[in-house]
Symmetry: C2
Subunit: 112 residues, 2 copies
DNA sequence: CGTATTAGTTACCATACTGTTACTACTATT
DNA sequence: AATAGTAGTAACAGTATGGTAACTAATACG
């Protein structure tokens, strides 16, 4: 975004943020991981609307962007745990504000 | 999102929020309107990467969702001003957190 | 032996999203 | 008379995103 039309374009911090977590699912996945590490199957249960394929893709992207960690245990059946990196944890205030807003303006309205 | 796997699915506040402002452009548009009302052309200049068609669409959706107002002046050449509604203004803390995060973790990293 | 479990992958398809180009109406300016 | 400016719209095209179903490996259980 250009913040001053008379000067050069300035990279917008909001734009940069959207590029990282802008997907339909990423904020939800991060929100789901905010307190604990979770296994792939756990995430799938907690976010029922997402397909496993898309969940895999989103997790890969989040890992590539350094927001989450992936820990694989070579057991049978296999076990994988996802958790937040320091960078991922630093998103907490953002997610928390989103949660607050959603609680106030969406959840309450639906009850009417 | 299901917040407790043993009970029924609970609507996730983050999910609801994403549905409203989850697009690639909506947070940026709202961020752009956070301080002042702006004309269509102004928005187009400040967000150069968006096409006019998509800008029109996104503005319509935001208006339909009650987040922004549209004021049309029947002059020649025509003038239209967009601004935030009370609901739109209530998003300020969310956008502000996004801005802070972006400043810290994206803008600074690019300078390296 | 047949089935269940976990965390995926692969192939294929449908829809959503985004972009480009050209066009509108009306007036002021050159 | 031609051009510029505003805020779009219409038609069309391409890309991105998301979904389904079938399949994998290794072991445990009945």
């Amino acid at each position: 975004m250009v913040t001053n039309t008379k000067e050069k374009a300035v990279p917008c911090p909001v734009t940069g943020m959207i590029e990282l977590i802008g997907g339909k699912w990423k904020p939800i996945i991060l929100y789901c991981l905010r307190t604990d590490k979770r296994r792939f199957g756990e995430l799938a249960v907690r976010i029922p609307a997402i397909s496993r394929k898309v969940l895999t893709e989103q997790l890969k992207e989040l890992e590539a962007d350094g927001l989450i960690t992936r820990e694989q245990f070579n057991e049978t059946p296999p076990r994988v745990e996802y958790g937040l990196t320091t960078l991922g944890k630093s998103l907490a205030p953002v997610l928390s504000e989103m949660e607050k807003w959603g609680m106030k303006h969406i959840i309450n309205k639906k009850k009417k």
